[in-house]
Amino acid sequence: MPKPKVIIAKLGLDGHDRGAKVIARALAEAGFEVVYTGIRQTPSQVIETAIQEDAKLIGISILSGSHMELIGELMRIMRERGVSIPVLVGGIIPPEDRDALLKMGVAGVYGPGTPLREIIDIVKKLTGVS
């Protein structure tokens, strides 16, 4: 049985997707079915994708600095649409914004240099894979 489906998305006007691709590929290697959305997604596109794919987790990559606005909107639309799956955020997130993101309901924030193993483990944990 393959592991659950997860979405990896780039949010907002940010074309730097090397990191997102590495994460997506690493999760695929770990046995997940990973849908990569590509760059420049809006929050509602990402949520719509998660609904249509029946995904069990969303991973967001942001390097543009607009994470507070975009993640805020993402979490708001998720509540509106009744989608309750964990969201992980990765990218360039200043330490002082971390807690604010977690308070918004994000399940974890990961910056550059995080070992892939750690990402895989948290995704496994959040999707209920032993």
Partner: protein, 430 residues
């Protein structure tokens, strides 16, 4: 959410409900769905990088918004980790928010690549949900990709420019199944010679096969949108024609049998994965690889137990008891020649045969009179009944008569007086 509620919501094109139903199908739970209205199932195939996703995006964007469009896009699963990197959506993300469009990425999963049974189940669900168009994007190339022929009403084969040298090689695979051949990326000047090669191939095949539908060849650029309107028109015209000549039912039938075959592959893979004990027997030399494979599939070597027959006074009452035990029981059949009414109780790879005498003069009636109800005979299946009869005769056993045609094939009996009171039936299935 209950499945009835999901189905009801899916009929109203509720994408969340559709998505949940497809996930359930992927996990092996598929409700029985009746076909309310046929969708036009369009298979899109062609080598990796030939522009399948981009073409689907351009087509779906041009289809009127009052039509329901479903897109199933297949990406390969790793045969080693089971994971999959699914990137086909990237080319279509703009469609994600359109209310009339539903997109789902599916991984090939399993041993064969190509379509799997969940893909067919997803098509059933989307058709039930009232999709007008279902675009099925295959992995691209490979022998297993021709399975799409059995689910799609229309098949688009994409051939990118500069694949001229490969045209020969393509002929015996993908090039047999196309209803519409699309020279993709026609913004490239090299597409002209690809177009000419395809026209020549299509003309030749048309003449050889003498088919009613003339495969069309079109030059299209998914990126710039050239030729897409024309392509959509050809697709719609074809659907009209299929509806008129009743061929839509043909694909529905072949879809059902394909689903059966693909589910069987699924089950096979599961039993292969669970066959660790057989694997170790192969490794330590206890079984040959072929014998182990046969055993996995319950192809036991013959002779094998075909059935055990029991003489019974009231067969209906016995059948009822076996049904109550949860066993599968056949309807009674009357075999005049043998003077019996017969009911089969199915058991894995063998069965119990219940016999009720038709009259007091029959052999089974006499058997019951003399010995009471109970086991009447044991039947074994043999490969070659005449050969086995010779072996039995050489062993000093008595055969009751020449082999004759019975309910299960060619049969004869070894007399119980020569075999410690056992009436042994020999069966050779036809």
């Amino acid at each position: 959410m209950k499945i009835e509620e999901l189905l009801e919501r899916a009929r109203n094109w509720d994408k969340l409900a559709i998505a949940k139903l497809i996930t359930m199908a992927e996990e092996g739970v598929e409700p029985q769905l009746d076909v309310r209205r046929r969708s036009h199932v369009i298979g899109i195939t062609g080598p990796p990088g030939s522009g399948k996703s981009t073409l689907i995006y351009t087509m779906a964007r041009k289809i009127p918004q009052d039509k329901r469009v479903a897109i199933l896009t297949i990406d390969p699963s790793s045969p080693f980790t089971g994971g999959s990197f699914m990137g086909n959506r990237i080319r279509m993300q703009e469609l994600t928010s359109k209310p009339n469009i539903y997109i789902r990425s599916m991984a090939t999963r399993g041993i064969r690549g190509g379509l799997n049974y969940a893909t067919v189940a997803a098509i059933n669900i989307l058709e039930y949900a009232g999709a007008d168009y279902i675009f099925l994007e295959t992995v691209g190339a490979g022998q297993s990709d021709t399975d799409v022929k059995y689910v799609a009403d229309t098949i688009l084969v994409l051939v990118p420019p500069l694949s001229g040298d490969e045209i020969q090689a393509l002929k015996s695979g993908l090039m047999e199944i196309g209803d519409i051949y699309v020279v993709s990326k026609s913004d490239n000047p090299a597409s002209e010679s690809t177009y000419r090669d395809l026209m020549a191939m299509v003309d030749m095949v048309r003449e050889i096969k003498g088919e009613t539908w003339r495969p069309t060849v079109l030059k299209v650029s998914g990126l710039y949108g050239y030729g897409v309107d024309e392509l959509l028109k050809v697709i719609d015209d074809r659907f009209g024609e299929l509806m008129k000549n009743g061929r839509l039912d043909n694909t529905l039938r072949s879809r059902r049998t394909l689903e059966m075959r693909l589910y069987a592959y699924d089950l096979l893979e599961k039993s292969l994965n669970e066959a660790k004990d057989l694997e170790s027997k192969v490794i330590n030399g206890e079984l040959s690889p072929r014998d182990a494979a046969r055993r996995l599939l319950n192809y036991y070597d013959k002779p094998r137990l075909d059935h055990v027959a029991v003489a019974i006074k009231n067969i209906d009452e016995a059948a009822r008891k076996f049904r109550e035990l949860g066993l599968r029981v056949s309807d009674p059949i009357v075999v005049e020649e043998q003077g019996v009414k017969v009911v089969m109780v199915m058991l894995g790879n063998t069965k119990i045969e219940l016999l009720e005498p038709l009259g007091p003069e029959t052999t089974v009636a006499k058997f019951i009179e003399k010995r009471g109800e109970g086991i009447h005979h044991i039947a074994i299946e043999v490969d070659d009944i005449n050969k086995f009869i010779n072996i039995a005769k050489n062993a000093g056993l008595t055969i009751t008569g020449e082999p004759s045609r019975g309910a299960e094939g060619i049969v004869t009996f070894i007399h119980p007086k020569s075999l410690h009171g056992i009436l042994l039936e020999l069966v050779q299935h036809e």
